[in-house]
């Protein structure tokens, strides 16, 4: 997971759900409140009309007689106002005889307040006007204007301003309740969504993640138990199918590799058996044939016998080397590693080869630091040096006026690199890449019977068993060849 995604999936999804829900709930609440408010006002308007009507008869009756007695009239409207708590103001507009307009007001303060620019005019009956001024927010009032009808003639109007404060107080409480309920339901929705999302989406996803980790870790028995029929359930069954398929493939691969291992073992065993069986008949061939060849007087037969002896020797070499290679390949072969002083060891190897080297007019120069030791199997290391020295001698032409083999060693840390160089025929680029291949012969025509083509494969195996590396270098044809290999010193530092 990257550092950017700090919030879990459930939180993110809940945020989305709650945002949508908040918009819906508050919209519904607003609509509901507006409707309630207009219903409330309508309702109140009806009530106020009813109230005014109940007063109408007595007002009309009084005015009929006292219209011209201004002082008494003023007193009258003040009395009516005071009697009724809800009435804020009662005013009367009547024309004077001079053609003007006479206005009587019960309460001057309230008169100013009720003058408004915007009205919500609700007409209930013919000639009755009910309106609610909209610009005054603190005081809720409703005004009812009624024609002053005296003996069938309209002589003016009177208007009553009523307070809605008391009624609004109750209505406000209702509104507050509604908002509180909305907020509480939003909270409930938030936690409910969180819980549900965790249960239905996040938990299965976590289960998935863990299962994928474990499967990646190699446990192909991993199964996800999600029984829901939705996409997650389908994903789970697809995942389970995948691990089953993987397990089957793995089982098949295991079977194949077991079979291959078996076949390889069989091949090694076959080579070993064949080698063993070829060994016995070679004993009389390589021992008795030279004696016969030696005793033979007829030069032609003697020549034939010598060729046969050479072939028998070649076959002996092949059998010995093939068996050696098979043994090096076998996992059962054990090595006896010991610390060998490299200088002493190489002197011994060269001494053993002295006759062979002198016969081929080859000189050996060694440049080895006196105290270098290697950890190696003595017999295998002798085999390695014999093979490489024999090779160096073999590929130095006899016609040449002698040759030189240089053996050098250099220690680097816990590793010793040893090189064996000759002054022989050298190798081409192509030959260099193939020398370690089994049965590869550098010179197919000339050296046919001298080389089994297995010597360097054996060397490579031996070095591998010592955890070293072997490689070859040649500046070109006719310029000699150098073999390099590494051996461990066996020291820990």
């Amino acid at each position: 997971m990257t550092k950017k995604t700090q919030f879990s999936l459930s939180v993110k999804l809940t945020f989305i759900v709650v945002s949508i829900a908040a918009v819906i709930i508050f919209s519904l609440t607003y609509i509901n409140l507006s409707e309630q408010a207009s219903f409330f006002e309508k309702n109140y308007a009806e009530k106020s009309v009813t109230l005014v009507k109940s007063l109408d008869a007595s007002i009309t009756f009084y005015l009929q007689n006292q219209l011209n007695e201004t002082e008494q009239l003023q007193q009258y409207i003040e009395t009516v106002s005071e009697k009724n708590d809800e009435i804020l103001n009662l005013s009367i507009n009547v024309p004077t005889e001079l053609g003007g307009l006479k206005t009587l007001v019960s309460n001057n303060e309230n008169l100013i307040n009720t003058s408004a620019n915007t009205y919500n005019i609700i007409a209930y009956e013919k000639n009755v006007v009910v309106y609610i001024p909209r610009h005054i927010e603190s005081s809720h009032t409703i005004t009812v204007i009624v024609p002053l009808n005296i003996s069938g003639t309209i002589v003016g109007t009177y208007e009553i301003v009523l307070s809605m404060n008391q009624a609004y107080a109750a209505f406000d409480t209702e509104m507050r309740m509604l908002i509180i309920v909305s907020i509480i339901s939003l909270f409930l929705l938030t936690f409910g969504s969180l819980y549900l999302l965790r249960r239905t989406i996040v938990k299965p996803i976590i289960q998935f993640r863990n299962a994928v980790y474990r499967t990646g870790g190699g446990n192909l028995n991993e199964r996800i138990t999600i029984t829901s029929q939705d996409e997650l359930g389908q994903l789970a069954s697809a995942f389970n199918q995948m691990t089953t398929d993987l397990k089957n493939s793995q089982y098949q691969i295991e079977q194949y590799s077991k079979m291959l291992e078996g076949l390889l073992d069989q091949k090694d065993e076959f080579i070993k058996q064949l080698g063993h069986d070829l060994k016995n008949p070679l004993v009389p061939l390589v021992n008795l044939l030279p004696i016969i060849a030696e005793k033979e007087k007829d030069p032609t037969v003697k020549e034939h016998l010598k060729m046969i002896v050479k072939n028998a020797e070649y076959m002996r070499d092949l059998v010995i080397k093939t068996l050696q290679l098979a043994r090096l390949r076998s996992p059962n072969t054990q090595f006896e590693f010991e610390h060998l002083n490299l200088n002493e060891f190489i002197v011994q190897v060269i001494t053993n080869q002295e006759y062979f080297l002198k016969e081929n007019n080859i000189q050996v120069k060694t440049t080895i630091p006196p105290n270098v030791t290697v950890k190696a199997d003595r017999l295998q290391l002798i085999e390695l040096f014999n093979n490489l020295i024999t090779n160096a001698v073999k590929y130095t032409p006899k016609e040449q006026n002698g040759g030189t083999i240089a053996i050098e060693a250099q220690q680097q840390g816990t590793e010793v690199t040893i090189s064996i160089s000759d002054t022989g025929i050298g190798m081409t680029e192509e030959q260099l890449t193939k020398v370690f291949t089994e049965f590869f012969k550098v010179d197919k025509t000339r050296q046919e019977l001298d080389s089994s083509g297995l010597g360097l494969s054996i060397c490579q195996r031996i070095i591998e068993k010592h955890s070293g590396k072997i490689w070859v270098n040649s500046p070109g044809v006719g310029k000699g060849t150098t073999f390099f290999f590494t051996l461990p010193t066996g020291d820990h530092n």
Partner: protein
């Protein structure tokens, strides 16, 4: 005249060794035996050789069993034995639990064999 017993089921091998040791060099007398049972019988008849050349892959009683019988017998245990097998194979099979007096890998050459025999007899 030293007495050598060779135990090997391959007539080509026993013949070559007998010829190589007797005819080319008259100081050895070679007895050829082609199985382990016969070898033990001869020893029991008190025909004790100076040295035994013992093959490993033999029908019936194998080379290791013969070797063990001889080396555990009080009066035979000092007879030197050269195993006609690869030294590494021998070590691998027996994990170094016992060591033969010497080994020689087939297909050996008679002079090599002779060097080993002489080394053990003169020891």
């Amino acid at each position: 005249m030293k007495k050598i017993m060779i135990v090997d089921d391959e007539p080509g091998v026993t013949y070559t060794v007998k010829y190589g040791l007797e005819s080319l060099d008259s100081q050895y007398e070679v007895t050829c035996v082609d199985n382990g049972k016969r070898c033990i019988e001869l020893l029991e008849q008190n025909q004790i050789p100076d040295l035994i050349l013992l093959d490993i892959m033999l029908p019936g009683m194998n080379g290791w069993a013969i070797y063990k019988t001889i080396k555990e017998h009080p009066s035979w245990k000092d007879i030197p034995i050269v195993l006609l097998t690869d030294r590494n194979d021998a070590i691998a099979k027996n994990s170094g639990s016992f060591l033969a007096n010497d080994f020689i890998n087939k297909p050996f050459k008679i002079p090599e064999l002779k060097i080993r025999i002489e080394r053990l007899l003169n020891h």
